[in-house]
């Protein structure tokens, strides 16, 4: 049954973000802030970079603020004013990605000013931006959220999000797929990957796809076919899931932006599940020295090795 999700705090959150942004910009604590602003289409939001205190009024937080802005601090960071600190508006899920990036030396905590957002959830990519947030219209990732309130930020509006108790969509789907035979799973993914057109939106929005030279763009050697044919598509998505294993924090941006609706986050969540089971690793707010695949213990499972 569809139930509305309480987003009443978002107004107060928006106000608090604006006040804080205005303050830190005018005090010169940061040179720019990456946040969300309203866009043309009704109810929609888009990323914005502001550097003037007056522009703080443009910032918003609504259920349409789906983007993980962390991506702007890695690949796109060169194009954002580089002097001084950069402020960024982050939801809990986004913050996990930032923690990961710090662990991988892509960011320094002291270079950024974190404006954390108490978040009850954002909209799914399948609905129009003006839709009301409900148990149906909520983004699938939000059904498994354990980070409604980010911690360790420089500023978090004093609001407590009301987290709805939702059926965990990915967990349920992973369980369903796991129960299939390998041939059935292959058929499922084959159909999904066949739609892929290699637009690389998944890669481009991913905070962790920060390689300057993507393995899959190379042709000497050509490890993965670059053409958008089923063989190359499958290889691309397998390689990407492997590269994200132990790093992906579940912002689900890849899945959200896929124009072909490929459930990419399923792969990432499956990997996260395995890493939790195998090595008790979970991506969280803590900055880790080493990811689970950059370390080992002598007692690691080897039941699969003859």
């Amino acid at each position: 049954m569809t139930k509305p999700i309480d987003t009443s705090i978002y107004t107060a959150v928006t106000d608090a973000i604006r006040t804080e942004a205005q303050r830190i910009l005018s005090e010169g604590q940061v040179s720019a802030i990456v946040g969300y602003a309203a866009a043309r289409r009704k109810g929609s939001a888009q990323p914005i970079v502001i550097s003037q205190p007056d522009d703080a009024a443009k910032l918003i937080f609504t259920p349409a603020c789906v983007n993980n802005l962390a991506v702007y601090l890695t690949k796109a960071k060169k194009e954002i004013p580089k002097s001084g600190k950069i402020g960024i508006v982050v939801k809990g899920c986004d913050l996990k990605a930032l923690s990961g990036l710090m662990g991988e030396s892509q960011l320094k905590r002291e270079d950024i000013y974190l404006i954390g957002v108490p978040c009850a959830g954002v909209l799914a990519s399948t609905v129009q931006p003006a839709t009301e947030l409900t148990t149906d219209s909520i983004a699938p990732k939000c059904t498994e959220c354990d980070a409604h309130l980010p911690t360790g930020c420089d500023f978090v509006p004093a609001q407590t999000p009301v987290a709805a108790d939702l059926e965990k969509k990915y967990a349920a789907e992973i369980t369903r797929l796991e129960a299939l035979t390998p041939a059935e799973r292959w058929a499922y993914w084959k159909e999904q990957f066949s739609k892929c057109i290699k637009c690389y939106a998944c890669r481009q929005v991913c905070p962790f796809c920060f390689c300057e030279q993507c393995l899959c763009d190379r042709n000497k050697p050509q490890m993965v076919d670059t053409t958008p044919r089923p063989a190359g598509n499958t290889a691309w998505h397998i390689v990407r899931a492997m590269h994200l294993a132990g790093r992906c924090a579940g912002c689900a941006e890849c899945e959200r932006v896929c124009p072909m609706d490929i459930p990419l986050n399923l792969l990432n969540r499956k990997m996260a599940k395995e890493l939790k089971e195998l090595y008790d690793h979970e991506a969280g707010f803590e900055v880790l020295d080493k990811g689970p695949l950059n370390m080992f213990t002598e007692k690691d499972d080897q039941s699969f090795i003859k």
């Binding site: 084959k190 066949s194 044919r229 089923p230 290889a235 294993a245 499956k270 395995e274 690691d300």
Partner: protein, 166 residues
Amino acid sequence: MHSEKQKHTFEPKIIAFVCTWCTYAGADLAGTSRMQYPSNVRVLKFPCTGRIDPVFILKAFQQGADGVLVSGCHPGDCHYIAGNFHARRRFAVFRKLLEFVGVDLNRLQFSWVSAAEGGKWVEVVTDLTEKVRAMGPMTEFKELAMEEQWSGAIDTPELKEAYNQI
């Protein structure tokens, strides 16, 4: 042990990624001991299992391997201190991924074979070959390689025939 007289309708292609210090040496020992095993395996030598990228396994399947073997030093025996420990984690995770996208893990074998275990090398290679032989060819990746996005497909009879022959 593999009998030369036995005729098989299907000869699987097995690709083995092995480290030079333990498993490659173990395979050498099998040779110097004149042990016999199926000729289906092709060995690629690496300094260490730590060097083996999961992409190689994927690539091997894409290039038509019906079975893949990855083998290195027993835990604690790595010539490079810990390369096999890193590999162990990497492959523990990668095989789960392959399984999730629908690869039958019976086609992917991992083993520790030391330089002294010529017999184990023979056993591992024979077992995998026979297991894969019983499963039949790995058609999934070969089919994929033949397939096109619909809009690029030229639906000619000769192409359809080639596809059906996999």
